[in-house]
């Protein structure tokens, strides 16, 4: 067992869990943040993407011991986070949501991109979303949505 302290969506968490637990399990099973999805468990699909210390990561590939003192953001942060909200609105308007299983992971990968590159080109968007599989949309409307969100973010500044 390991004692952990970290921040999730601006809230401090102190928790004791088994060492071999994945961040994905901590989020879903211990903290009941089920917006983060498991699509493959081996880091291939991106459905479990969260932002860890500013970077998009697959939470199925992060072990408990790696999140000591970390700052983590999940889709549940959307209630208060303006960047996620702008992305959500753009996804809605562009028709970028179908089954929705990839959506939380996509949004977080997109947010991580916009944090480090507020004006990405189409190629940069595609590159940033490369690790997030979507079987429904063919990615076209998702790429559009991220472009639109970037434009809106620039305007809102």
């Amino acid at each position: 067992m390991i004692e952990l302290k970290f921040t999730v969506n601006s809230e401090e968490v102190a928790i004791t869990v088994a060492e071999n637990l994945r961040l994905l399990d901590i989020l879903r099973d211990e903290l009941h943040l089920t917006g983060t999805k498991e699509g493959c468990a081996v880091g291939e699909c991106g459905a479990c993407t969260v932002i860890l210390n500013g970077e998009a990561v697959c939470s199925c590939m992060v072990l408990a011991c790696q999140v000591q003192d970390a700052v983590i953001e999940t889709i549940e942060n959307c209630d208060t986070d303006p960047v996620l909200q702008i992305l959500q609105q753009a996804f809605l308007e562009c028709g970028a949501v179908q089954c929705g299983f990839c959506t939380p992971g996509m949004l977080l990968s997109a947010k991580a991109l916009l944090l480090r590159n507020p004006a990405p080109t189409e190629a940069e968007i595609k590159k940033a979303l490369e690790g997030n599989l979507c079987r429904c949309t063919g990615y076209i409307q998702i790429t559009e949505a991220v472009k639109q969100a970037a434009r809106e973010l620039a305007e809102s500044k």
Partner: protein, 717 residues
């Protein structure tokens, strides 16, 4: 006009939408399955690992089944579980449940099954080339109009085409939650499924008289399906129900990706042998003989239905006077194949569209001209004798040629390729897809739908058709509301639950909008005229005592739609959707690699209800078809089994070409089938573009570098 926003989008964008793995109920056990890991033989012994308290586990095998050990399907030949004979990899042997997932997984990974192996057929070519593997009913479709031979110019040519398995790869793996209510003797299943009433039949079959009542509900979110959640859920729900009944506790099973990939249904591999007699100079086809074979896997299950759709689409969009089609299923020792977007049509269309380009190539005529010469037009007959009543396929073709600049690029690329190592190619393909169940299917189904006008002014729609990402619940509500004209948030589709929802049939075959939606619209019109309101909100407010009120409608087929299931003559589909596609590729001969640059799609799907959703269906279908064309493959002889998305390569964001979509004839009164047609035509368009770029005819999918390398070697000899 801007499209109405999806009703389910908000819940999905906030992570609040509950998918099956997000459901927990008190006392719930974690369940899983142990399945066969050889292709054929016998199970000799099951060895559970030491160091576990077996009392903590609930274990079920075939001998625990109180009802029938047969999954209800069009052909009832697959058992839920096997205890001795192994016919394929992936047959369920045991269901196991435990309160703790870690302990359960550990126990399963340490359990050893001893087998005695027998020779097995797992290679698709071995399966399909050998007629000894044929099983089930052979289907025939014959149509003979007096052909107009020009005896001095007869040319007969034969070509054989193969396609491979394809995994649906919905992003959410399959899962079921079973809750058994002992007092009521009621089994409730919540799960990822396209066809709640099929699942109900399955659970009733396995449980027999042991439970009185079975209720099936879909999970709030279903993370994609594409046909993959059409029939496997029957089996999974059955085993989960059995576990919950034995444990007398709720049990949830969610498949791991790897297992979902290895044991659930896939697209049928095909072998299509085409022999045509045509004019030796202009390629006018007067006679065609098609032998269409599908590898069904170890059991027939729903394969005859796929076979049927396949033969009905086998001549594609072409008018041929004399047609002979034979369809047969072949048995292999791979998991039974099942439904996947397109349902037999993509295989048929791949063969026919590739054949057309091979002919054009051999005769050195333009693939476009050859298509125009043989195209189905108003007044022509399909092989079923059904008369074509619209020239819309031609309109799709004309428009896509214009949009893509096909003619000029075709000659430009020929010039370009003379002097460049990296090649450019442009390819054409046509698609057609019948809407709804095949032949008499809709007559038999007799779909029923229900609309309830609530006291508070809300309108609730009850249909068995599920929202699996395709946007059905938004589009259906929009269709109803086109009559009621309320604010969109007042009209909603209720999550399907077999205890409240009438049976409007399965969510398959491009029928949800085309059959169920049009039926709902008819019901809404009837409600409007019966109640005689001008403003529904007002009407409900003023007549509070008469609400809630419930209305139902049953599907009545057009009496003119007669179809003979034996001769396969008559009206197989009341309406066809039509499409034409142009694909532009770059081919790098050093890497043997095809890159798709652009893809133009022109479709006639009738009225488009929600353009955003409709576009999403086309984009998604096209990209799935590109995966099938280029990378996706499950069984490769001599290679180990797949382990996940690492070796089953799906298209990712970086692989996506520029995709252009245009809908034509949208002023039609009818919304026709849309979900499947975008899967039907892109693969042959890519393949034909490769032929144009290189002159190499490859009659097999996928066009992987390995296959191209081998073919290039052959063509040089």
């Amino acid at each position: 006009m801007k499209s109405q926003k999806r009703k389910d989008a908000f819940a999905k964008l906030t992570g609040k939408c509950r998918f099956l793995d997000d459901y927990t109920v008190p006392d719930m056990l974690q369940g899983y399955i142990i399945y066969t890991t050889i292709d054929r033989g016998w199970i000799r012994k099951i060895n559970f690992p030491a160091g576990f308290d077996l009392q903590e586990f609930t274990i079920v095998s075939a001998s625990d089944i109180p009802g029938k050990n047969i999954v209800p399907e069009p052909v009832n030949d697959q058992p839920f579980m096997t205890s001795e004979v192994v016919d394929n990899f992936g047959q369920v042997i045991l269901g196991i449940a435990h309160p703790n997932r870690e302990i359960l997984k550990k126990f399963i990974s340490l359990t050893r099954i001893e087998y005695e192996r027998r020779n097995a057929v797992t290679d698709t070519k071995e399966c399909l080339d050998n007629e000894a593997n044929q099983f089930g009913e052979i289907m025939h479709l014959k149509h003979e109009l007096a052909p107009t031979y020009n005896l001095r110019h007869l040319w007969k040519w034969q070509q054989i085409f193969y396609t491979q398995h394809q995994e649906q790869a919905y992003l959410e793996p399959q899962g079921m939650l079973a809750e058994y209510n002992i007092e009521k003797e009621e089994m409730k299943i919540t799960g990822t499924m396209q066809c709640p009433f099929f699942v109900k039949d399955a659970v009733e079959s396995i449980m027999g008289k042991a439970v009185k009542n079975v209720v099936i509900e879909t999970s709030e979110g279903i993370g994609g399906a594409f046909g993959g959640k059409e029939d496997f859920p029957n089996l999974l729900a059955g085993v989960t129900a059995l576990l919950a009944w034995k444990a007398q506790k709720p049990v949830k099973i969610v498949l791991d990706r790897k297992d979902d990939l290895l044991i659930t249904t896939n697209r049928h591999p095909s072998r299509v042998d085409i022999i045509a007699i045509m004019h030796d100079q202009n390629g006018f086809i007067s006679k065609i003989d098609i032998d269409y074979r599908l590898d069904a896997g170890a059991f027939q299950t729903l394969s005859p239905v796929v076979l049927h759709r396949g033969i009905l689409h086998a001549t594609g969009g072409y008018n041929i006077a004399e047609v002979k089609i034979k369809g047969s299923l072949h048995r292999s020792n791979t998991p039974p194949n099942g439904a996947f977007r397109g349902f037999g049509a993509p295989q048929a269309i791949f063969a026919m569209e590739s054949f057309i380009d091979n002919v054009a190539h051999r005769l050195s005529i333009s693939p476009l001209r050859l298509r125009q010469l043989n195209l189905l037009k108003t007044g022509d007959q399909l092989p079923t004798s059904q008369i074509v009543t619209e020239n819309h396929l031609q309109d799709c073709l004309d428009r896509v040629v214009q949009l893509s600049g096909y003619k000029k690029k075709f000659t430009d690329f020929q010039e370009y390729n003379k002097t460049n190592t990296v090649k450019k190619g442009i390819g054409l393909a046509l698609g057609l897809h019948g809407g709804g169940y095949t032949g008499n299917g809709e007559k038999v189904l007799q779909s029923r739908v229900k609309i309830v006008l609530e006291k508070n002014g809300m309108v609730n729609i009850y249909v068995a058709n599920v929202e699996m990402g395709q946007g059905a619940h938004t589009t259906l509500a929009q269709m109803v509301n086109s009559i009621f004209k309320l604010p969109p948030e007042k009209v909603n589709v209720v999550i399907p639950n077999t205890s409240q929802t009438p049976n409007s049939g399965p969510t398959v075959a491009s029928r949800t909008i085309y059959v169920v939606g049009n039926l709902l619209q008819k019901l809404a019109e009837r409600i409007k005229s019966e109640l005689g309101f001008a403003d529904l909100k007002d009407h409900i407010a003023k007549n509070q005592n008469s609400f809630p009120q419930s209305f139902e409608e049953v599907f009545v087929p057009d009496p003119a739609d007669d179809f003979d299931d034996i001769t396969n003559q008559g009206v197989a589909y009341h309406d066809f959707s039509w499409a034409a596609c142009v694909v532009e590729i770059t081919y790098d001969p050093d890497l043997y690699q095809i890159r798709v640059d652009k893809c133009w799609n022109v479709l006639d799907v009738g009225k488009v209800i929600n353009e955003g959703i409709a576009l999403g269906q086309v984009y998604g279908g096209v990209v799935q078809a590109l995966g099938w064309a280029l990378t996706e493959n499950i069984y490769k002889k001599g290679y180990p089994r797949l382990s996940g998305f690492t070796d089953y390569t799906l298209p990712a964001s970086l692989d996506i070409p520029e995709i252009k979509v245009e809908f034509i004839h949208t002023n039609s009164p009818v919304a026709k089938g849309l979900g499947e047609i975008p899967m039907d035509y892109p693969a042959p368009a890519v393949r034909n573009a490769f032929l144009q770029a290189t002159g190499i005819m490859i009659n097999e999918l996928p066009l992987t570098p390995e296959r191209i390398f081998a073919a290039q070697g052959r063509s040089k000899k």
